[in-house]
């Protein structure tokens, strides 16, 4: 049951038993997060990770000119946290807030340590999450380096079709590293070429 949900995380195939999933979800506090409220602000120290039960969160930074740049979306069954801040005790470079009204599980660092010590395989599960996380970040870097905006947009549609429908285009543009105007034109262009082909 619970394990099924975990399997959705980051497009699948992390091995987790019901025991692990239940242990994690039963021993953390639920929290309701209204749309627009922050779980973490730039400059703060992060003390928790979050598992999204319902809703949609995001992690983003702001540049010199105050422009927002989205690092990650976190829909249902995803984890979101600033591990740099949480594990290396650095002030966070990122904000985490809710795009929709959401409910999350608050996962304290201790809890991970405890479960890792108690439940066989839990430490491994945690490691797999981290590896998967690294893989997805690497993919993102490679795409930003290698491909123009319209290709990154096409990949986004493939990879996160659900997110696409739930967030304003401005945020998709921010995630892709382009302006809303550019995204609008890219969409127009794609629609045209689709019509004529």
């Amino acid at each position: 049951m619970k394990s099924l949900e975990f399997n959705n995380f980051l497009t699948g195939n992390i091995s987790v038993t019901d025991e692990m999933a239940n242990a994690l979800l039963s021993q953390c506090n639920k929290l309701n997060v209204a749309k627009g409220t922050w779980l973490l602000r730039q400059g703060e120290l992060s003390k928790n990770a979050y598992y999204v039960e319902t809703g949609l969160l995001r992690q983003y930074s702001t540049d010199d000119k105050g422009k927002e740049h989205i690092l990650q979306f976190a829909p249902q069954n995803w984890f979101i946290s600033n591990r740099e801040s949480e594990y290396l005790n650095k002030p966070s470079s990122y904000y985490i807030d809710a795009i929709e009204d959401s409910t999350v599980c608050v996962i304290k660092k201790d809890l991970i340590d405890n479960l890792s010590a108690k439940i066989t395989g839990f430490a491994d599960f945690n490691l797999q999450l981290l590896h998967k996380h690294i893989a997805s970040l690497q993919k993102r870097i490679t795409q930003l380096q290698s491909y123009p905006a319209h290709q990154r947009y096409l990949d986004f549609i493939q990879t996160y079709p659900d997110v696409l429908l739930r967030v304003p285009q401005t945020m998709v543009a921010s995630y892709l590293g382009i302006t809303p105007e550019s995204l609008s034109r890219i969409r127009k262009e794609l629609a045209n070429s689709h019509r004529t082909s």
Copy 2:
């Protein structure tokens, strides 16, 4: 001794004892890697991580048009591996090869597991490495999203002054996500503005 070297990894402050460092470095095989030879190719399954004792390696991918895009440089005292391939058993999307003649420690997955079980704090050390890795990848994404090439270049100089001097400019450009020509112009521009100020 050994711990000092580890402390250099990823600009510092990972806590590791001599016991951990010695255990790791004494129980893995040394390997000499001549300039230009691959430790991992696109499509292969990665079975090891590598710790660079001397020399300089890189991890890169190629795009549609055969252009290379460098994900990471690994000079002395750095780790380099494709964790996605190693831990999630996926064919690697990246190449790893030596930019200079190098010597590396071959770190098998089992070894990490063994040491984690045997040595107190080793699992934690490994986790810290992963968190640090994630932090550096996130920084990279944010920079690619947020800042123009000349700012990314300035940051590169600050962060990796040693690497800058040891690799051809083409590779720096590839790391930054721009063409060699563009980097050449950026450098010229910076030199000029420095002269006139």
